[in-house]
Every structure is written in C-alpha cells, then in structure tokens.
C-alpha cells in the first residue's frame, strides 16, 4: 500500500446550496484534491466505502437530514472518516455538539480558502495515517494466521517474559524444541527482537 502517497485525497462535499457546493469543489480541485459533491446525506454512505484517504466537508445545516444527525449516524455505521464541519453565524451550540461527537475541525461560513485547504489537508493526512495503521495490523494478523497451534502457545508464554526453560516446563516440551518453535515464530512474524514481538502481541491482543 505504499502507492497511497501518490493517491490524491478524496473530499466529500455535502452542502445543499448548489453554488456553495460547486465553488467549494472548484477550490479543492484547484488544490489537487479529488472531490465528490453531495446535495444531501443519502448518497454519502455508499461513496465512503472506497478504500482511499478521504474526509467529509459537511454543512452543519442541511435541508434534509441535519448535518449533526448524519454525523451521529456515521459513527453508528462505523464510518470513521475525519469530518470537517462548516457552520453558519450563531451556530455555536450546534458546533459544540458536533465537536463533542468527534468532528476534527469546524470552519465558519463563508469559509476562508486557506483555512479550508489546511483543514482538509490535515484531515486527509490523518485518514492516510489511520489507513496505513489498519493495513499494518491486517498484515500482522495475516502473519499470525500462519503460526501453528504449538507456535502460538510458545509465543503466548514467551511474550509474558518466561525463559525458554520455563516455557518448556509449562508445555512439557524439551528446551531445544521450544527454541526451534520460538525461532520460527520470530521469522513468521517478521521480528528480530523479543521487545518487537511483545509489541506485536499487544497490538494483536494475544
């Protein structure tokens, strides 16, 4: 997934005013982002499925479903794309609600171009980093899947800090056998030191 660096971020712009929506699209495209324009929230959920760094630029006041209600629905659906809220004048209580629900940033309308570009860039980088982490975790999981039952037993005891001899005693194996299993665990999980293996075990929660 190293080619992520080349993929431009995708910004979903959700605003019920056509002029505002299209002009925001132009602005983001001129800064090199890909954009998807949405008049209402209905079309957004399906479009979020694509696996590429993205974020949502969401008007807090929408004609159909309210921006904040949509934000809460996204969280419930497990969509974790960073959200930037655009707020009108005097929307302070709504802004607070949006930030509490986990919005990354909010921009007062009419939005300042430089502030918008900065916020979107930050959101895309955040999503890219999160996606990288997810990929890495998936990779580790796949590696863990290749371990035999015995190897997993050895790994579980080794990462608690037991010596090979103690592991052998626990599992009723010879010390040499434990040593062999341990070597193949390190190889399959792609680590060279015990602390690395401990870190992975904690990330995989094994």
């Amino acid at each position: 997934m190293n080619d992520d660096e080349e993929t431009p971020g995708l910004v979903h712009v959700i605003d019920d005013d056509a002029g505002v929506r299209e002009s925001l699209g132009q602005l983001l495209r001129s800064e090199g982002f890909d954009v998807a324009l949405h008049e209402a929230t209905d079309s957004v959920l399906g479009a979020c499925a694509a696996r590429r760094p993205a974020c949502l630029l969401l008007d807090i006041r929408l004609a159909g479903e309210d921006g904040l209600d949509f934000q809460e629905r996204l969280v419930a659906e497990g969509v974790t794309l960073p959200i930037i809220l655009m707020t009108g004048h005097g929307d302070i209580p709504m802004t607070v609600r949006g930030m509490k629900a986990g919005a990354l940033d909010f921009l007062p309308k009419p939005v300042d171009a430089a502030a918008l570009v900065k916020a979107v860039r930050q959101a895309i980088e955040l999503d890219r980093a999160k996606m990288g982490e997810e990929d890495e975790l998936a990779n580790l999981r796949a590696r863990y899947e290749t371990l035999t039952g015995r190897e997993r037993e050895v790994m579980a005891l080794v990462v608690t800090g037991l010596m090979n001899k103690q592991v052998a005693g626990e599992l009723n194996l010879s010390e040499i056998t434990v040593k062999v299993h341990r070597g193949s665990v390190m190889r399959k999980m792609g680590v060279r030191t015990l602390p690395d293996l401990v870190r992975i075990a904690s990330r995989l929660q094994v």
Binding site: G19, S23, L24, Q26, S30, H89, K109, P110, V111
Partner: protein, 410 residues
Amino acid sequence: MRTAAGTGEREAADELEERYSALFHGAGIPIWESDWSGPYDYLAAEARARGVSMAELLRTEPEVSLGAVPSARVTLINDAALELYDIGTEGEILGRSLGQRYSALDGIIPGALMQALAEGKAVAEAEGHIMTSAGTELDVVLRVAQLPSPIPWKRIFITALDVTARNEAERRFQRALGELAHASRVSMLGQMAASIAHEVNQPLAAIINFAESGKRWLARGELEEARRCFEGAAQHGHRAAEVVAGIRAMAARGAPQTVALDLPALVGEAVALARRELRDADVAVRYDMEPGLPAVRGDKVQIEQIVLNLVLNAAQAMAGVQGNRDLVISLRRDRDMVRAAFRDTGTGIALENPDAIFEAFFTTKGEGMGMGLSLCRSIVEAHGGRIGAANNPEGGATISFSLPVAEDAR
C-alpha cells in the same frame, strides 16, 4: 294663616338650603358655585358688536372667552375644591375668578363650557389642565350646570374631577403598548434580517470560493478551469443582486394602490394619530399650506404611514433639545408634484450627507432598527416621487418628499 303658611314655606326653604349646604360642603368632590353673569354680559356685548349669536361667536372665535373669564365670581366653594386648587381659605377666592388658574396651554377650556351653555345646553363637560397655588399642573374634567335664576348664568354649579392619576396611568399603558409593538417589530425585523443575511451570504460565499479557485487555477496555468470559476462568480453575483432586489420590492409591497389623495387632509389625519406623542414631547405643530393644492396620486395607507413616520421622527429628534420644539409642515405645489416638508427644531443630522439617513439599518436610536426612513424612501420612490433631507441653517432638519399630482387634477 298666610303668615303662618309663609313661615312654613320659609322654614321648608331654610331646611332645604341647610341640606344643600351640608351636602355641598361635605361632598368629597370639588364643587363650587360661580356667578358668570359678568362673562355673559361681556360675551353678549362682543356678539352684538359682531352681529352674531353668542354661540356662533364662541364657536368661531373661542379665544374671546379669555376676555370673559376674569369677570366670573366664585360665590361658594367647598373644602375639596379648596384642596384641589391648594387654596388656604375660602376668603381668598370668594368674589374672585378662578380664570388665571387655567393652564396657559388650554385657556379656552372655560370657552368650551361657555359655548355649550350659550348653545342652550343645561350641562357641559370639558377636559383640561388647571394650576394649583403651588404651581402643580393637574388634569381635570370640569362639569358645569346652570342653576335656575332670573339672571342668565347667575348661578353656575361646577364640579371638578381630578383625572391626573388616571391620565398618567393611561399614558403609561399607551407607552407600554408602544414599547411592546416596537419590540415585536424589532424581533420580526431581526428574524427577517437573519434570513436576508443567510440568503445573501450563500451567493457571497460561492463568489469568494470561485474567485479563490480562479486564482489558483490561473497560477497552475489551467485557463479553462479558471474561466469556469469566473463564470460561477458572475452567476452568483447576479443571484445576490436578485435577492436584494426582491427585498426592496417586498419592502415597498409591490405596486401601490394609487388613488387621488387630498394631501392636506391626509397630513391632518396622520398628525391627529400622533397627537399623544406630540403632546408628550411638547411639540407645537404649525401648518403652512398653499391654498388650492391639487390632489396627488398615491396609496393612502402608505402615504399616511410616511407622514406619521416623519412626524414621529421629528418629535423624537426634538425630544432632547432645550427651547422651542416646533414642527412646521408645509405643502407646496412644485410643477407636476406636490412637495411636503417637515421642518423641525431638533438636533439636526450629524452627517456630511444628510440623505444617508434613508439607508437601510441607519439609526441614531439605541433601540431602532433603522428601517423607518429607508421604508419611506422605498414607498416614495415606488410612487414616482422623491425624498430628501437637509439641515436647516438655523438648526434642526427638514425632511421633504414630493408626490406626483393626480392626472385628472393637472
């Protein structure tokens, strides 16, 4: 027997007189009896000299009564009346006139009562102000009745009702009503302003975004994209202009319902509506109307609204000034228009360009929305007229508007 009967009658009369006296002095309301035969003779002579009836004289020249009042004589007065006028003892007033007690503001109040009596009415009532010995002005309702007497107006029975507190309560009530109406207007305008702001802000946001994007595309040498951005900016500029045009049209409520209007009469009606405010602000209104003015073309309600607005505005402009508070309303023909000018002695307009007061949201009042004069301008212009403001060389300001003469009156 005759003597005995006579004595009996006298006793009965004496008893009646005693009863009357007890009632008169014990009554809790101010009562006095006055001999108005002097004023009667004075007015009769004045009427004869002019060859008209007394009633006619008082109707056409009420100020004549000012000359008649001093010859009235108080013959009987009760304690409540002495207390009302703040007079120590009845000796101080018996045989004299209460005439100078009537406030200079409405010295012709006795005139109104005399006119009613001259017209043959048995009782008459009038509301006005009196002055107590201490100099306090009180609002009273005076009621007069003529008691039987061979000499006309020899025995005038007068009661006074102190309505100062009632009037003050009513004024306070009216003021509260006015404030309430103002508050609801302001809140309505506030909501309207918020929705207008939203309507205008959307296209403005689009214009800004398109302009910013255009700059960026140009920097990247993408001319086609840049062209599209400028198109978008222009399109939404027009959209904003349409919103503004829509608001102006709404403010003037479309095409006015025009009819031929008698402007002097309409001005009179509007001033009558503002009577209370003018009185409270102590403003004297004078008219300077060219005779034989033609009718103008206009929507009665809207034009009346303008006149009322300008009159109230003038009253407010003069509220804080020392000295005379005069509003002179003049009407003049000016070719195909009639021009109405409202000249006040207020604080004037502290602006380089006095016409700026007609801009929407311009206000000098803490609680104003600044829509009044802006609305006046929209209405006048929708009628094909003009409105303007100027400071007077001697202080104060003049706001004037003109309306076209009705076609069939040209």
